[in-house]
């Protein structure tokens, strides 16, 4: 299997030890989504420019047939591929906007009164950050430090 385009979307709960780590994670997430979006939308944009003036018909395939519970395209792979890429780009937009919005308003989360030594549970649904739990019951691990004296041996 080779991934042609798109984004791996995480659903689950991540624990962070500082709010700064949460912010950094969200920033990296947004950058990754933006990069994937640009890559896919450039493919569509370039095709629309090449086929100038023809509009959406150049990416809408008529070769789809319903087979079982899935649509399958056997007769028009170029347009079929473009159409699914277009669908992907359309789905990416709200994910980017939501993540952008969360990051933009993250200051207000950072201003909340939080007990020292709290940790943070971030819930992501299909790649979108939806909830944050400030957990004062599970402290971050203690800072690791080690000093020792050794001898080199055979």
């Amino acid at each position: 299997m080779v991934q042609e385009t798109g984004t791996d979307l995480y659903s689950g709960v991540l624990r962070f030890y500082t709010l700064n780590d949460v912010r950094r994670y969200l920033k990296e997430l947004l950058e990754r989504y933006q990069k994937d979006y640009d890559k896919s939308s450039n493919v569509i944009g370039s095709l629309l420019r090449t086929e100038g003036g023809k509009g959406m018909e150049v990416i809408m395939s008529k070769g789809w047939a319903k087979v079982g519970s899935m649509f399958v395209n056997v007769s028009d792979p170029d347009k079929g591929g473009m159409e699914v890429t277009f669908q992907l780009v359309t789905e990416m937009k709200p994910r980017i906007s939501k993540t952008e919005e969360v990051l933009k308003t993250f200051d207000s989360v950072e201003q909340l009164p939080v007990e020292a030594n709290s940790t943070y549970l971030l819930y992501l649904h299909a790649g979108v950050p939806e909830r944050l739990v400030i957990d004062s019951t599970v402290p971050p691990p203690e800072n690791f430090a080690f000093k020792g004296e050794f001898a080199t041996v055979q």
Binding site: F16, Y17, P141, A145, K147, T152, Q154
Partner: protein, 124 residues
């Protein structure tokens, strides 16, 4: 599975004795310091400093850098915990293993005894 990457950020190597040769007995003591630089839920970045001094004095090496451990919380904990009081934590062995070839080449260039490849904790 725990993934470890080691980045050397500084090396200082000094020949301390004119009469030292590569063939002399190579007893080195090693002072180690590891400290946490950054931590996330799936990674821990440590700063390290390793100072090796040969006995009798022929050479001194100091290597500093960072080691990144990536894995689950349990794997990371296992990586930094010494199995018993006389053994170094696994991460220290990994760091020493990764920088050993550099130390070997440097000691050869300085014409001083080569450090040996394994570590044993000194009794206090």
């Amino acid at each position: 599975m725990l993934e470890v990457s080691v980045m050397v950020e500084g090396i200082d190597a000094t020949r301390l004795n004119d009469k030292a040769t590569e063939n002399a007995t190579s007893n080195y003591s090693l002072n180690v310091s590891l400290s946490e630089r950054d931590r996330s839920s799936e990674a821990l970045v440590l700063s390290f400093s390793l100072e090796l001094t040969s006995h009798p004095q022929a050479a001194k090496f100091k290597v500093t850098g960072s080691a990144t451990l990536k894995g689950t919380k349990e794997e990371i904990k296992e990586g930094i915990s010494a199995p018993d009081d006389n053994k170094p934590p696994p991460i220290l062995l990994m760091i020493y293993e990764r920088i050993y070839s550099t130390l070997y080449v440097l000691s050869g260039a300085l014409k001083v005894p080569h450090p040996l490849p394994n570590l044993l904790k000194k009794s206090s």
